[in-house]
Symmetry: C2
Subunit: 328 residues, 2 copies
């Protein structure tokens, strides 16, 4: 594979090159020793100057990264579609990364590209891609920042990272994004109640979707009570939308812009992106260590140690020491 040509094509915003690079990233997570092909790609992105490149007009992550998360059924796909349309009207190039943490064994992404692509399939300014973890420890934590780099290099102004679920995935998205939207909808049972502790930590903007339903008002009220208790410089605004009809999209864009301004003025943007860079470097370093493990035949050693642990012939710490011992 000619990585140089692929990178150059991606920087010209050619969808096929972008797609191939992201596939390369996805597959690289599958094998412990497989992190190296990407080294060349990332070095090429960093070295070249030009629009969207690491040394180019916007620098790395020139793209604004917006996370979008919520439980199944709140209307994430529809909301993403609504945002794509609105951002395209502003003339922005949009990348969408649908991260699916719930399907690590199959290797198939839950939310099919095809369904989502229909409306924007012929728009060269929209890149939509779903990614599934390959069950590799920290797989998506490792792969998602790399995919963001590819979409950024392809000149996206905004990258939407969509992920399902309450839980760790939500937090992971929040760590990647400049701004995190948490979607809620009425009729989700006691979901809001249960999700409370978590979502307040990650949400920069709340969206109550399906706001034309009777019980939407109660959700907004509950959120308002929660947000009232926030003692931080940024209080997450609550936006009501009916994504299926495009209602509320202007309010949502306004809230996003306001948060972008806050991030800039407060220095929070820099802080978040530094934390993201730290995470990214550390995750790659740990993946490299794992690869070294594998190369040094430690996988077989690990099998043996697992047998011994199961037979109660060792404890997990002693076994871990043994595994590490040849590392010096």
């Amino acid at each position: 594979m000619d990585v140089g040509a692929l990178v150059a094509d991606a920087k010209r915003g050619r969808p096929r090159a972008v797609a191939r690079l992201i596939t390369l990233i996805e597959n690289a997570t599958a094998v412990p020793g497989g992190v190296d092909p990407l080294r060349e790609v990332m070095a090429a992105f960093a070295a070249e100057r030009g629009p969207g490149g690491a040394g180019g007009r916007r620098g790395p992550y020139g793209a604004r990264v917006i996370g979008l998360t919520g439980s199944p059924g709140v209307g994430k796909s529809t909301s993403t579609g609504m945002l794509i349309r609105a951002l395209r009207k502003r003339g922005q190039r949009v990348g969408v990364l649908a991260v699916d943490p719930s399907s690590p064994f199959t290797g198939g992404a839950l939310l099919g590209d095809r369904v989502r692509m229909q409306e924007h399939a012929t728009d060269p300014e929209v890149f939509i891609r779903s990614m599934a973890s390959r069950g590799h420890l920290g797989g998506l934590a490792w792969a998602t920042p790399q995919a963001l780099r590819v979409l950024d290099a392809a000149g996206c102004d905004v990258i939407l990272v969509e992920t399902v679920g309450v839980g760790q995935a939500e937090v992971d998205v929040a760590r990647l994004a400049d701004t995190t939207i948490v979607l809620l909808a009425p009729g989700m049972g006691d979901g809001i109640q249960a999700a409370k502790a978590g979502i307040l930590e990650v949400a920069d903007v709340f969206v109550v979707n399906k706001a034309d339903r009777d019980d939407a008002h109660a959700v907004v009220r509950e959120l308002r009570n929660m947000v009232a208790l926030v003692h931080a410089p940024w209080k997450p605004p609550i936006v009501s939308t009916v994504a299926s009809k495009g209602e509320g999209v202007d309010d949502l864009l306004a809230a996003l812009d306001k948060h972008a301004a806050y991030l800039d003025e407060s220095g929070e943007l820099r802080r978040r992106r530094l934390a993201r860079a730290r995470d990214e470097i550390e995750t790659i370093a740990l993946a490299q260590l794992r690869a070294r493990f594998a190369l040094a035949g430690r996988e077989r050693r690990l099998d043996l140690l697992a047998e011994r642990l199961l037979a109660a012939e060792t404890d997990p710490y002693t076994a871990a020491d043994d595994l590490l011992s040849s590392l010096g």
Copy 2:
């Protein structure tokens, strides 16, 4: 702290000792260098023989580990309560670990111990504990197996690991458990549809809770169609329950027993526990590596590298190499 006395007390099934050891585990995840106090604990568990001990009558993980997962609002707490009562009627000692992956920043567990403890607070044969990740990379992946060891050593016959959410948490629980129950309920919007790909991978037993609702039948039917496509030696049974009234608990126990028998006969139990032991050793080894990083002043180096990455003066791979270089 006298670790020896604490371990001895835990093995006698004293709730305070069990609680203190799990707190020790939780706190150890918070600091990169903080994994060592547990070394002594785990070595003590492995060394001593006796009921529940690693070398004792049941071996390590003598306890049967049952995972219980599902979206917010399906009735996980109520179902856990129902299972506790049923298992206590069988005379079994029960441990419950409520793992909360959605609240890594606060350090406070989402599902309060107190609420859950009310009914079983005075029962010395029930240990209930919630655990929250401390935001440490792989925090719960690291801490949960250790907490299982403590509950196992305390003589629990069954340990229920409950976690919220569709997503990675679900998969993590499935990797820990001998048997994974996936809970669903009617009225969750298109949640089942969305969760499809993920839950089929992890479910050993499906429970449709709130089965007294009109639309429960549709959920069961949908699941049945899904399961019909499974070509594996074990087809997950579908059990209908009304956990709030205790209805369906006998069917659920029967399904769990059947799966336990299957695990034994097929050799799958050993396969799963070996995989779990591998995960456990590897996670500890990686945590140790991270601790070494910190001790070697690499945290400051990482800050510097993150600055350089943000300024596009390096690429993530070169930065990771730099971070690893002093490791040899």
